[in-house]
């Protein structure tokens, strides 16, 4: 081994360095090179940045467990002296966050169901069927890809008032499901478009009608898209703010979590620990969901780029 030419050694080291940061030298000890040092240094710097990145969440959790006076200390210490679970009781009962959570769950689940069903159906026929007006619909959809809530809110509120949808959870659900959701439809269109024609032909040969072909053959195949659309819609609805805010002006009991939060701070600006507890209640479901389903979140977000 001692006669190995230096260039080969260098090449070997280069190829190894892709795998492990510090390749073992022939005599078995790890040799520290500038390269490994820089990797460790970079990692350390990143860890510091990451600590600052998630600090607000840690502060929130710790403030939710501190006594109201303890929060005001402005200390950076995150460990509460004596965990005060009563903050959560106060947020849940007195500040009505239990009710807001229930409203948010109802609105989110109903909206997700409606959006998934309507986007799957629309995406299927837009991708697989020829009919009059197909191009027009596709053009309209793409044209409204970037329309934000703020732009349409005034006509939506007027319409909801006239249809007697304002001040009810159902109104909120219908208005949310009626949002553009263009990306979801386009995801389905893209997926159904690349499936082979033989699928439908086989279904027709087997005597399945249009509806059965869709329900039994096509929809089950689109599982991954359904997962992505469900997750993205869930996130968007759970985190929605503008529409629920405007829909619940005169019905505080129908507030969702995000709207309730703003109202709570408006009414009790000194109850920091209660605020933090309410924030934890509001954010925890989404964070848990994210930790469990990370991969799908990342794929859903990255899908916007790949398209």
């Amino acid at each position: 081994m001692t006669t190995t030419p230096p260039t080969v050694l260098a090449a070997r080291e280069r190829s190894r360095s892709r795998v492990s940061a510090s390749p073992p030298t022939p005599n078995g000890r790890r040799r520290f090179t500038w390269r490994t040092l820089s990797v460790w240094f970079g990692t350390a710097v990143l860890l510091c940045i990451l600590a600052a990145w998630i600090y607000p969440f840690l502060w929130m959790v710790s403030a939710a467990l501190k006594s109201p006076l303890e929060v005001f200390d402005a200390g950076l210490g995150l460990i509460p002296e004596d965990p005060q679970w009563s903050n959560f009781t106060r947020a849940w009962v007195d500040a009505q966050f239990g009710r807001y959570l229930r409203n948010t769950v109802i609105v989110t689940v109903a909206t997700v169901v409606i959006v998934v069903v309507r986007c799957a159906m629309a995406g299927y026929v837009l991708a697989r069927r020829r009919f009059y007006g197909r191009r027009l619909i596709l053009v309209l959809l793409v044209a409204t890809l970037f329309v934000p809530t703020g732009y349409t809110i005034i006509p939506v509120v007027d319409l909801a008032t006239n249809l007697h949808l304002l001040n009810s959870l159902w109104g909120m659900i219908i208005a949310m499901s009626g949002g553009a959701h263009v990306a979801s439809i386009l995801l389905y269109v893209g997926y159904f478009h690349q499936l082979p024609r033989e699928l439908e032909e086989a279904a027709i040969v087997d005597g399945a009608g249009f509806l059965r072909t869709f329900l039994r053959v096509m929809l089950p195949m689109a599982g991954p898209v359904t997962a992505t659309v469900t997750l993205m819609t869930f996130m968007a609805t759970w985190n929605a703010f503008f529409l629920p805010l405007v829909f619940t002006f005169s019905r505080p009991d129908l507030r969702t979590l995000s709207v309730g939060m703003l109202a709570f701070v408006g009414e009790n600006s000194t109850d920091w620990s209660g605020m933090a507890a309410a924030a934890v209640i509001s954010l925890l479901p989404m964070v848990i969901l994210f930790v469990v389903l990370q991969r799908y979140f990342v794929e859903g977000i990255a899908g916007a780029i790949k398209a």
Partner: protein, 308 residues
Amino acid sequence: MSVPALSARHRRVRRTELWAYAFLLPTIVLYGVFTVYPIVGSYWYSFVDWNGFDAIKTFVGLDNYREALSDPLFWNAFKVTILFTVVAVPVKVFSGFLLALVLNSPRMPWKGFFRTGFFLPVVTTTAIVGVVMQFIFDPTSGPVNGALLELGLTDEGVNFLGDARTALWTVVAVFVWKWFGQTLIYWLAALQTIPTELYEAASIDGASSPRRMWSITLPLLKPFTIIITLLTLESTLHVFDLMLTMTGGGPFFATQVVEIFIYEQAFASSVPRLGYASAVAVLFGLFVFVVGLFQLVGVRAVQRARQA
């Protein structure tokens, strides 16, 4: 009906067409009523004077537009929006790119862990994060000022959100923090489209690491740069949740972006002026549309350059 074969086929075509329309019905109704109609409708609303309480909408022609163009607060809102965008977009796109490069390097340990950590703020509710940030930047008891005091960088707390000079930049910082993970994921997805063989081939040819960056990574990422900038720009122009919950547009209109201005006029003032708010929304919509067009022209140019 003299040719049965044809009529049967014809019937089948008709039936699938009917099915197609039936499948589109929920989308046409919901999307038509809550997206298409409002977009078209906001033009009509912008020509009326209407307070939202009673049913009377008085047609006033172009008065709302005239008023908007001579309203200093309207121009202020535009100025604030553009300031916010001009700072937030480059910072977010560029820093996301840098971190993506680091996380994409094969020697980086704990990639998934870092990606998760930086992505976490993205999934949280913006409005709630905005409220929490009010407390975090509190001038007397917030942890940020606590840290500055401990380090001796300030004798008395900085009133980040209450001072017109710092409020907007504080929101920019929080905005970048909140959505940084999204840009990071975009860039990582873009970087993964580059085949590793290219890098290997370049290494064998003796290209140094900066050279590989300059000759492979950057040219191949060009189209993505435009798309990512476009997506970031669109989301930045419509910052609302964070602004309303962190500053409400204050202090002294220093953070009153266009969407907050519209909201104030339409829902938060003692006499709502929905017609005026609609006119502002239409003007802003046109502005966003023009910005989008510029971007599209850019994308087209890049595509043509790639095909050439």
